[in-house]
Symmetry: C2
Subunit: 380 residues, 2 copies
């Protein structure tokens, strides 16, 4: 396969040489399961359309609880100021996060979610000669960014205990690895990687490479954070989002936490002000002392009930500690995704490496009852 003239020109204009183009073309040819970068729905991995109004949406790891009460209030209160940029609203988020995470304010950069800093981490630290290393199955977004810039994505299967295989990631990444991506708990498997493994990777990775720890789901588990590694000035970028436990996917707030020189390397790739609605809601959410433990407990209870149901009916599943889990449907997963939609239950997608597993998000207790009924029906 060769790249078309336009793509060739586009890559050449970005400073890649003709030899890179051959490499890029080969990777595009090999990347059969990922859509190419110019698909309009670039970031919309979980997008579904024409959903009936009474459907159960447990496809996108959204939090059905939505923003907490004080966050909703904060949005209502700030709307009339919507004509102003209000940078100070972002500063408030930085200040609170800085106190809570015990890192200096300049170690925190706020983004409209964590997709942007993940994408920009790949643009900053990977390149055609510096591969991007991630787990398989793993959250795909970083791989798309790598594909766009012609960086190789190395996908390393999870270990038997569903943790990241950091030793194998290091080995396969080689001496030129640019970025190691660890999502903890992992999306889609909902499983943890021991902090000691992350620390081992940070200590043993090639000089100049960076470990990005995506902590989008960490609040939902009770795993330790890795912001202490950031405070110790390690080559670590921690990603946070308010989309998950804080129920703010639609409001947009998130952060990259890292040494300022690493944050600067991301910063130049993007521009734009932040939604004051998201900022005000983030500040309100961070100010709620009990929100995280309460929601962790609620989500955990529904997850445990659902996994218990699966066990009782002899379905095998991956033991998750997050707000999603993978269940083995013993047939091409997309069959079941499609069949479930007919029951108005929208479950998540299938990862090529585990073609017989589907990802299911933990919804409300009521939603999971509907999931259970539909799942029994379609699996019968």
């Amino acid at each position: 396969m060769t790249l078309n003239k336009q793509d060739q020109k586009s890559f050449l204009s970005r400073g890649f040489n003709r030899r890179d183009l051959t490499k890029i073309a080969a990777m595009v040819a090999a990347g059969t399961t990922l859509p190419f970068y110019n698909e309009p729905a670039l970031a919309q991995l979980s997008r579904v359309d024409n959903v009936p109004p009474d459907a159960v949406l447990i496809n996108a790891n959204e939090n059905p609880l939505g923003p907490c009460e004080s966050a909703r209030e904060a949005v209502h209160n700030i709307v009339n100021s919507g004509g102003r940029y209000m940078y100070g609203e972002t500063d408030k988020v930085v200040k609170l996060l800085s106190q809570q995470e015990q890192v200096k304010p300049d170690y925190i950069r706020i983004y409209p979610g964590s997709s942007a800093p993940l994408h920009q981490s790949v643009l900053a630290f990977a390149s055609p000669t510096k591969p991007f290393v991630m787990a398989d199955p793993g959250y795909e977004a970083g791989g798309r960014a790598a594909q766009f810039i012609g960086a190789k994505t190395i996908r390393v299967p999870l270990k038997a205990d569903f943790s990241h295989d950091v030793k194998e990631m290091l080995k396969q990444g080689g001496p030129n690895a640019g970025l190691f991506y660890i999502c903890n708990p992992n999306n889609p498997s909902g499983t943890l990687t021991p902090k000691a493994d992350i620390e081992w990777l940070v200590e043993n990775k090639p000089k100049g490479s960076v470990v990005v720890v995506d902590e989008a789901y960490t609040h939902i588990s009770d795993a330790p954070f890795t912001t202490d590694l950031v405070a110790k000035d390690k080559d670590v970028v921690v990603l946070r989002t308010f989309s998950k436990i804080y129920g703010m996917a639609g409001l947009r707030a998130g952060a990259a936490i890292a040494r300022p020189d690493l944050l600067d390397k991301l910063a130049g790739w993007s521009a734009g002000m932040l939604p004051i609605t998201g900022m005000a809601a983030a500040t309100a959410s961070l100010s709620e002392r009990n929100l995280v433990p309460e929601r962790r407990k609620m989500i955990g209870q529904v997850r445990e009930d659902t996994l218990e149901f699966l066990g009782k009916h002899k379905f095998s599943y991956v033991p998750s500690v997050s707000n999603c889990f993978m269940v083995d449907v013993k047939q091409p997963g997309n069959n079941i995704v499609t069949a479930m939609r007919k029951e108005k239950v929208y479950i998540g997608r299938v990862w090529p490496v585990w073609p017989n597993h589907v990802r299911v998000t933990v919804g409300t207790s009521e939603e999971m009852k509907k999931f259970q009924a539909a799942f029994l029906k379609v699996m019968a």
Copy 2:
């Protein structure tokens, strides 16, 4: 001047060679008036801090009217769904814009404002060998993106009539020009460039280059849009924002309108979902038939009153048709900016090419009365 080791490594990792580094270092050395890309406040050109609560903020081309009533309502109504990504809210904006601009839906890509697509246009179309060409004075953000990737920014003075000097831009851009940036009306001068000049540039520019027309302020003037050039499949990217006439700077919504292959070239540089608050407010705003003409009239009236005041007091100013104007203070502009702040009136910044001019945003009638009083006092 040389780049430090870290910056060198960063550029090298992005595919630039050592010869580029020398060039980049020279440009950094020359670009004395712009902060370098790794300043945290990258996009916050108009940022002010510690502003007294009763201050008049006419520094950032914000719209003091804020979002229209139905847009505010739309935000209130969608907050409870804040836990969901709701891609459909973005589709609604695409659909309405597509109808109103008479371009196909796939010629429209929605962004959280227009800063992001401006930045990404520069990343996509400029490079160390393909300069970025803009007016002087002009909106600086594109130049920062160019600086980040080591692309040269060519600043071409406005003509005597304060329009873009498209012939000189073409000439100075040379055969390798990557991107011509035209903000119309121009920020900060508030002055128009005839559409015929833009069309001439589009027809005569080097093959492979792109003309980006920033229409952030076009609704406020009654200048024609250039979306018809997009519909004709020209190499034109039109930028729109809801920050200005729609009063949604804090809510974040904007668009790039261009041929899909051009939009695809921007798309890979960014990722992330859009704030549903901004999307819902944008849809509501676009649905208001009379909003644009009414606000154009209101803003225009206050602007004309203010310019008349300036004329009456023999101040010279640039005749603006936008929501900002430049006034000649016959001394270093920053003296006056500082003095005005003591009067609790925050006016905009100074452009190096016109060091004796300050940019003033058109606020409410009441705010401009305070501006007038303070301005007479500090200029006395």
